[in-house]
Subunit: 331 residues, 4 copies
């Protein structure tokens, strides 16, 4: 039985607490949060203790920690936990600073403990089925990847200001999805972005709508579209054109009811947001982590993967400013 | 906390055991089965005791029983459990004999405890959304209901022989769905049936393909189609034509991936069978039972509903033999 | 070049006039109608003469006639035209009286000229593709056929009164579709019907909503659903369950635009009515007639087919009244 | 009756000949082609004369010419025909040289006769319905446009060599579609392209896969994806994300048949190529031209529109080479 400490007690921590306690091979020992009442609530709900982060990391009886704290603490906690001999599952992004993330990457490598980054979408059964079909050669050789990734509504501007910007905060999921599906990192990044959804987002120095084009060494191309607002729900689609066909992973819908009237033929909306869409993915993610740690294999999404996605976010940020292609080798 | 005894430890009992133990207001105290090893397995998995059925019913500390035993025991157990002051959730059908079911109905009514019948499909979110839209008047007045209900593969002939026949064993779900959606029982039943899927089913005296037409006092019509074999998966669709439009609840698919090749555009199959399709419905069913029992309201699917569906099965069985319309008032 | 006389100049005659004049191997010589201005309009539009029906039939220079007059004249005109040595394409139904139609069938057989009945839906590319797949064995052996056939709105009550009733006027298309797809006539017919769409239709002695179940000698079953009103458009769907799968022909939509908003995901309605949906079918129907007549092969929809469908309408009419199964051999 | 001369007698000229001769207000007088047998074939089929291009342009009895010759002759013919007082419908692109096209634009403006460019997709009913919904504000303000435009198979390399390249030959349709839907030209163009479908295309100096991002003065963004090969058929989709929702125009399919088997749920492919998909659009295009010329209104797709799309192709060509954003004002 893997004994787990949960660092952070916010919304996403709650999702993880449920996955940890539902899994037959893991148990939630302790929760920490800088807000004691948040930690208390989760600890009570899932029968765990409330402790400080330091106590959890220092406890030799805890095998692994799940880091769901604010982004600026991720690297420190990854380093401390791996130094203490614990396995780590850390929420994305690794850090807002690529430089800091690379230092962390080296430290963790030295510590030699498994560190997995929480790119939950890799565990979505739809994207998983698409990848399986792709790898089975069902559409031949991949040539052109398209990722549509729209949030239902923008976060508060206060959050935007500390988020690191759309590329590091939101599109980082899509950069990782591109790496996952294409099986390699791109050579260069071209980004176009604007603030058109909400002028307050622009005033805060960020963008809310963006298109990024990735080019690969072998001529393949990927394009990622992001918007902070799709009023009809969480729009999460992937399609890959290959030499022998097209694969598309379409949205999950709230239900299968269709209504035909004089107005037209109306179906349900996509599931609202990540909690609705990706709940099975969070469960599968935790299962994969437990399996990797207990069986000693590689984690399916490594810290290297987290740093690779962050480098693409950095390149996209620069490209959106300069209007020029940015080579990944240059960031 | 509602203390629950589980009578029966087969496959569907396992589904219920999970729902009982996952619900915050119910706990699984004991399991019984005529096969001790089956009872033991479930008891161990969910932290319950193994006891005899008699012990469970006699235990004043147990508030409710879930009856998941063979059909021929349902009525005896409903009577005994309600006589012992317990609430009951009983799997369908109430009995194969309409006469016996009606005696049970009277006994249970005298005992005055809540008895709910496990027509799980009423709790499917898709059918629920369809009913909500229907009751909201979104397609005006309902006129013509169609239910498609195909199993992926026929059960073993040994099961067929003791099943009571397709109308009592399989279509009974659809009779209840018709009552649920139309809000009342039909006046008469016309059935056509044959054994075309598997001659062994015909040799066993049953049918495997059937179409039943229901007529209502106000002129509305419903048609139910059943087949024991749809090789592409569990085909569970409902559509209602109304004065202002059409409502359809379509199948759930295994995933949302679509592949376009020179062969055509291929999507995933429907979910395979009832465990895949209706797992959320079983959870919602249990929640509704707990709520009804603990809050004292009526159960959402009563023993009367179970008897009503059985009467329709009886009428359909007669009609399929005679080639004539059978009035429900005559069965 | 086949020289054609068009008997009748109403709406459907206009559709045929266009097909006749567009086909490279047929030319429209003359048009007749009891309303001279209607005949004149079509004659002018398509460069044909206006003549009496008798003149057209008597003209040895005319090779074929297309009968698009009122139903009560069909048999007389089929007999006269074939006696005059002409090929005939006649609109459905052959007659409202099965007895009269059978007399006509014998006369025409004696005259030995090709007579084709205008069951246009056999030429719809969607139903054609379904039949091709069925005959290629793509779903194995057919077991259960379902036909959904709803008009967008009921015709005027004045029309209803002379229509022969829903089974002879509307469902006759679906009876022919069943014969077309199942490859044989059924053994017996069970009908349920009511007037629920419009009480005036009931007052006129007709029904507006009906479900008919057909049984075949080999155990196969077909079910046909009709309604005079589907406010969202012409609902024309077919599905066949077979031993190896399911084939469905779905509706044609007005366009492919889909709109996702906070209200849901909205697509276009089905094409409105038969002129929109079946225009390509009318063209293909004419082409098949020209080919059969000029090359001497059998017509793809014979007078026998027309009489067979009429017999099923007769059986359905009786069954709906008696509540009993009616054997086709008994009508 | 508009008297029309058809310049060119290739495949697309045949499509236009049919539209011209089917329209009640236009007649095809003469056809020219540098291959006399091609001209003869069309002339015979549609009852027109065969003449030289010079004779057609010199004939004062001809009101309009349709230019369907090779691209390098377009400007000369537009200039000559408008100088001779004729209306012109010219196939795309105006020319491969933006400079030459601009000279032609000035000449034609001086001549003052209507010149329409054959961007047929504007007349597709699906894109038309999308634009209507967009302009009606059904999704609020447009923010992000995506155009997917894949051909089923690449043209011969011999054609590629004289085509002007993917941006001028193929994506020019999509540039015009972007202008049509966004209602204005973009400010800058960013292109990524590669030859991955067929190395011979790369050897010929062209690309076969490309993604172009357009930015607009008000912050809106558009992205266009092109591939020379989608083995499943002509993939022609458009989607627009707006402040209140999403509009998508999906592919037309060959038929509506869906087959469910153990392999999955299979539907028909998209219509194969432009002749299948856009035949109704060519008819509507001609109707719009006749209407504009005979009623004196502006043509719906002007020579200015043709030059605007060509400028975008020029910018994209430069951007793909430099890896930098190219401002339209700079080409």
């Amino acid at each position: 039985m893997m004994k787990v400490g949960l660092l952070g007690a916010g919304r996403i921590a709650g999702v993880h607490a449920k996955a940890i306690t539902s899994h037959p091979k893991s148990t939630l020992v302790a929760v920490s949060d800088y807000l004691p009442e948040a930690a208390q609530k989760l600890a009570t709900q899932y029968g765990a203790e409330i402790r400080t982060t330091e106590e959890i990391i220092a406890d030799p009886g805890i095998d692994a920690v799940l880091i769901a704290t604010s982004t600026d603490t991720h690297c420190d906690l990854i380093e401390a936990a791996t130094a203490a001999g614990k396995g780590v599952l850390c929420e994305k992004p690794v850090d807002l600073s690529l430089e800091r993330a690379r230092v962390c990457q080296e430290s963790a490598a030295r510590n030699g403990k498994p560190v997995m980054i929480g790119f939950n979408r890799r565990f979505d059964p739809n994207f998983g089925a698409l990848k399986t079909a792709l790898e089975a050669g069902e559409i031949g050789k991949a040539e052109l990847l398209s990722i549509t990734s729209f949030d239902p509504a923008p976060p508060p501007v206060a959050y935007i200001k500390v988020s690191g910007g759309l590329f590091r905060d939101m599109m980082i999921h899509d950069f990782d999805m591109a790496n996952f599906l294409m099986g390699t990192a791109p050579v260069s990044v071209l980004a176009v972005a604007s603030s058109i959804v909400d002028p307050q987002i622009g005033a805060a120095g960020d963008v809310d709508t963006a298109v990024v084009t990735l080019t690969y060494a072998d001529g393949r191309i990927a394009v990622i579209k992001n918007s902070r607002r799709a009023v009809y729900g969480y729009d999460q689609r992937v399609e890959v054109l290959g030499s022998d066909g097209l694969l598309q992973a379409q949205n999950m819908l709230e239900n299968t009811v269709v209504k035909s009237t004089t107005q037209g033929v109306m179906g349900a909306k996509p599931t609202y947001f990540f909690l609705e869409r990706y709940m099975p993915a969070y469960t599968a993610e935790w299962t994969a982590f437990v399996e990797a740690v207990t069986e000693g294999g590689p984690v399916p999404v490594s810290l290297d993967d987290g740093v690779a996605a962050l480098a693409m976010a950095e390149a996209a940020t620069r490209s959106a400013k300069s209007g020029q292609s940015v080579r990944l080798a240059d960031v």
